[in-house]
Symmetry: D3
Subunit: 334 residues, 6 copies
């Protein structure tokens, strides 16, 4: 059982390439980094539990229906509070950037209390725990609640995965930095990027190229006693056209690997990093090699860009086909 | 110039008769009692100003675009605050009732400050002022802000129209009652119904039938020094099928009139009362007779039920055709 | 082969019950009285030819595609002229009437020349000819062109069917009356209603009830040497709810029959009369009894109200099931 | 745990009131009597397992996703076979009947083998078992497989509920009769109607009115050693407008009760009987009185007609509000 | 008259780039290689007959409506059998491949009997006959039925065109090879690709580049007494982005030509090869040069990728504009 | 106040990449070069007035609603005449070009009379006037009406901006040339391209590259006493993929500047030039430098290609972000 903890919001986006000003309807999905990771893992066939706090109304019910459709266990979701967070996503196109407008203040999970979650119970049958840097950012009580969960993980020897996922609209580096530095100590695997490593975790490198990335990853492992670090790479040529890749470092073996680069035409770029985390956790559970792991995780990330919504809807076969045998050709399957 | 003051929300509703649990998209309109009245009046050809407070984001921009499309002046809308209120509308069908879920807490207007509104400026060229009982209910500062506006109206001799519009999810009778009793004193016209007259305004009658309605209206006028009172009547046979009508009393002449009853098949019942208020204000401005006024207002109400969204999209001709010559037959116009 | 001659337009209508002011898209069908009759007949399995004039552009191509989809022969449609006629249909609901806005001026067919149509060729294999009172109304040359066609029908002994279909936006009674009086002389069957019989054809009756209808029909037959007359009956309780029926008179036998009355909930009321004409022509071709004919034709009319678009999409079985065995119960077929 | 066993198909229906001939897209849901009952029960908060056989492809995966979204357990669904059954539903309107076209031949479940289902395992934690007369009709092996399940139910003392659900397109009375007579022996509750009781089960009555229904129900109980019998009543005034009700008889107490009659405007009539069965099983589990049971079940049936798709999407509160306090008035909930 | 013989299926595809798991509706078109070729030829202005066997239901009726809309003659389509084949198409995007799931087993045409088709009658007025390698693959009787047709073609001197169109999900090379080798003997023109020439027809070449293609084409002509061979070329850079071209060899003149290469952004890639065949047959009928023929056919193929559905909706002008004057610039036409 | 004068049409376009032949609905926007410029300027925060003539019907009402939604003043629009112009836009894709079919003959504005417009009143508070070469082309009276407006502009010293916008379907060079040569005399700024400068204005250059463009612009300024000239540049690699840029010349300073080149993936290319004109007028009003002006205008043009409809929906910030800091990277804004 893989347990994911965090906020999920109702996502409202104009159809196609319309701007918010032009919309007469909004397409809806539900999205949050942790449930995105959980849903992708459930699509890979894993047993997954999503933990959060949700209000008692039909919109939150619809969100739980959505979570269950992937096969995720939602029996530990606490009901209560005032509202669900909402975010508006205006998909960009060409030279027009995508825009996200958050309306998440006062959401049930952001006002959760420590006693809402009995982590010994929740994590009783858990094999891996996942959270992102968004969770401690959404409310005052949240860093403590995450800390509670991590304490139980430590006691039970549950490996913890975290994506640093820094959101400047939620908190500033001077608060986010110390908080995250505390929470990531002892992680099994940390996902970050070069910019956030510097900004929040105080780690940078004078080297260049891949050496630089290896140096940053190694320093992160050393400083924060982390087992493995993944650094993600993205170039945004336009709103429709990105290049993605990732590197990974293992502090035990000192091994450093880099994935294939994928040039992606974008259907929906939200949740790419979450698909990567899902791929990472999936391969880790199977004891795959570092190279196989980063290739699978990067392929999951690349593939996510071709899927509408926040969640990677893909089977292990779908990802593996890309990860293991991509030769620059994409053939129809029939 | 007719000035309307209140909150307008983003309305999200599943297409057709779908339940929220089934929706993959939400149809969007913007709705609020006061802007609904204003938009209907603008559709009747009146000059209208809508006053509110709205956050600085693209969703609020879209709402202003919507207001302007009717020809309403929005130059006095204050920009600032955190969010727009949202409500979810699940349209009922047959024996399944419609459901509204409000998510309006923390909206910009609900946290407005008295100094946000310079009523002497806003009301400078105003010929009539409209608000509903929702406005003072949405935030702690709002009763005072409405009181400020009413003071200026009194000073300038601007007639004030108010729909009592009691919403039990926003406040309780013990708070709403005294607040509204104070705010409705001296109104030109009050719109209410029998239930709210009793619950909030302490007025009821032992008579039966139309006599009862006349008695309640007369007592309301007397108790609160109101010029005219309209009482609305509705029977909800099913979610698709209602009967609507209204009565009106003039305290100066003592005249009491009743409109035709309309049996309506419902496209969208939200905003029926707002269409009635718009009809009322329109006819008052033209000095129509009491009977003509209530017939036009009731026809506007009936017609609203056939129009999607919160706003009556209809010309004066559309309403007049129904109000003055309805013979139980509805013929295609070509 | 049944040949129908007249104009068909692009019909643009807001989705569902939206008003034109609210639409972001228009649903499209193609509609015209004569092609509606032809398409319904083709759906009944008849061989049908539609004759008109259409411009050379992709919109007209799409219209021909539509005609062919029913199996109609369009090989005699003349290509040329400037534009296709367009009409906007705003479907009414409840007490709000449907509205049609015509934009047909300057259409190819309305500016056709007599030499565009070689009626000896067109009608060579024709067993019945159908036109409506719209065709001579749309342009100055059209009465003459219809007259040309009727002359050839007379020469070849082709029975002619006509629906008087008076449209006051196209012409006035003082022009329409004499024109139609000339064109309907010698018809096999005329479809009209009480109002138009009086207004255009100068025929009315002092009797009451069915006797009145019989009297009018008989006078029409006598005055204009017509074989049979059908008078249609409609009550429009609301935009969603009508009652339809029809009577029929045979001048040879003097037989007068009345169809069952159908109360219909309306999906789309445009083309009801055209479905009736199609039913009429279909049964006439099979030599059905007068009672069977009017029942089938009325059932076709009633059924049309449940079908989107101008055309009755229904098989003979669909109509016959209603015409011959309706007991007030409509059961799912599976 | 309530276990439901049967076939579920992909349902393809034209949007709104379009005919199949007009559709450019089909709305999709998944539907089958047994999963409809299960999903409604899951919506009522029950633990439900759905058992069937489904092919290994993405369409079947989507169906399982759908089942899980309600919270149903699908871990016992066997994967294999060639295809999923499909049915086309053309929703009727007014006097035009709804049409269902089945394309279910060769579906995975219709070709299942007895060894596909280990009933001792499947029913290990089951408190109630539900099937309909469709299941034994869909394939040669199915009567035997149902018999296997019933044998285990008898051994474990699991109460069995069955809706006779006779489908003449699947089998004829001479085969269906003996098969069903065998399978319904010893049921806890049988759902049937007067017509099928006569046609398949050889039971009718010379009495009139409610006495007749009571007589039929009592004879069914006696003949087939059934605990309770529900007879459903439906009048189809039009495709949009039905009246539904039901009666129930308890063979132990001899009590006979009749539900309120509901006149329903129809959004989607498929699955009404399944909602009734779900209500029945729900109330039986709670030990409700016979009158409460039939009222709740009938309210569930009535409410289903207002919900798109085959499944009643409603909470216990939604149903109870109608069942216990309906006064002919349906008020908006806000 | 060009006659095309084969199966056409109902194609169900999620809107836009949605995966099957996400769809709430399926867009529908009808598609089959032979009717795709026929429809494209009809769009070019040719007289075309499509021959197949279709069940008696409204879905098949809708398919015939579709065929007629292009102007194709469907009077020789046999009605009967159990069902229409269905296929699900999930359009790929970027690195995610398109997926086709066939559900065609038991279709009416796949179970056709030789006596269903009177080829002397069907081919009486035929100038060219087209089939693909799919037709003999779909059922046991089909190779014989195709053989019957080819025999009549030989007798009447009708030129035959065939696209080898090998589908590994329908049959294996050891069955497909000998069957196709027999059926292609004496063809006017064969369309194939390098892979299938080797796999099914035992023809390959040791040469490189265009020489290799010429060698294969020449050997195919020689071995199977074929007049002309077209080999298609495709590179699939991604699901959205392909390069297409084709070569053509004439066994009489020994001429070998190659078309321009087109880089295409893909709206819908299904039916590209069918558009090529249509172009080929069109130009052959006009006696165009080999170079003109392959350019027109390749332009038709390229253009098809920009059109939704299986069929090339384009006029001869549309194709010719691209084929004869493409300079790397695509200008708006107004 | 910026005043724009010209025709606006109802634009009907098939959804997505469908061809007209495939559409069952048309997406609608309203578009015309002058109102497109006005709406973009209103989106930039400018006060804008749109002047035209529109018929009295609900479609024209909807157009005015649309204009008001941007905040444009429509109080000077004359109501009357017969119809609104319509145009059909079939969006191209890949190698398939976009097609526009105009149906604008007989539109209200094309038949306007000089006395419809009181230019002294209309231009009373105007700071800049904009028209295009389409306006004088649409009707016989229009060159005179434009001349009237320009005379008043001259009298009041209102700077005039004009886009030459030559449409060969409306008039021929021998009429357009002399007309435009007269109307552009004394302009503040003219927008044209190399082709039209030669074809209509008789100006070309023997130089090459940018020198050629500078030469043409300078000659245009000199010949027609124009202050500034902008020449637009476009390469159409495919229907989805263009490169756009522009140059600008100031006759007073002799300064010649060139904008950045933008490669754009196209959502909707209609109105790109109008966005450029809007950017130009906006920057001119602010007294921006020539380089800043052409960069802003070109960025507006580029950005327009990513927005559905004829109008650039973008804030000044949206444009400025691209104009001033584009580094080949487009990042999501959150």
């Amino acid at each position: 059982m893989i347990t994911c903890f965090g906020e999920t919001m109702l996502r409202l986006s104009p159809p196609g390439a319309l701007r918010i000003a032009q919309a007469q309807s909004f397409d809806i999905v539900f999205g949050g980094a942790e449930s995105n990771v959980g849903a992708a893992l459930a699509n890979f066939g894993e047993e997954v539990r999503w933990v959060s706090k949700m209000p008692c109304n039909e919109v939150a019910d619809a969100c739980l229906r959505w979570m269950r459709s992937f096969g995720m266990d939602v029996s530990k979701v606490v009901r209560g509070g005032q509202r669900m967070g909402v975010f508006f996503l205006e998909k960009g196109a060409s030279l027009r950037p995508s825009k996200v407008i958050y309306d998440r203040k006062g959401s049930a999970i952001s006002e959760a209390r420590p006693e809402d979650f009995d982590w010994n119970d929740i994590l009783g049958d858990t094999d891996a725990f996942f959270f992102t840097g968004i969770t401690p950012a959404i409310g005052e009580t949240l860093p403590g609640i995450v800390e509670d969960a991590l304490t139980v993980c430590r006691e039970k020897g549950i490996p913890v995965f975290c994506d640093i996922n820094y959101r400047p609209t939620l908190w500033t580096p001077d608060i986010a930095g110390p908080t995250m530095q505390k929470l990531i100590r002892g992680l099994h695997t940390l996902v970050a990027n070069e910019e956030h490593a510097d900004l929040l975790l105080g780690v940078k490198s004078d080297l260049a190229g891949d050496g630089k990335l290896c140096d940053i990853a190694a320093k992160l492992c050393e400083t924060y006693e982390i087992g493995r670090v993944v650094l993600t790479l993205r170039q945004s040529h336009s709103s429709d056209d990105n290049t993605v890749a990732a590197v990974m470092y293992d502090s035990v073996t000192g091994e450093f690997v880099k994935s294939r680069e994928y040039r992606v035409q974008i259907v929906d770029r939200v949740g790419g990093g979450d698909a990567l985390s899902a791929g990472l956790i999936y391969c880790t559970g199977l004891g795959k090699s570092l190279q196989e792991t980063i290739e699978f995780a990067s392929a999951a990330n690349a593939l996510k860009h071709s899927v509408h919504g926040d969640v990677l809807i893909a089977s292990v076969d779908d990802v593996q086909r890309l990860a293991s045998s991509f030769d620059g050709t994409v053939r129809m399957i029939r």
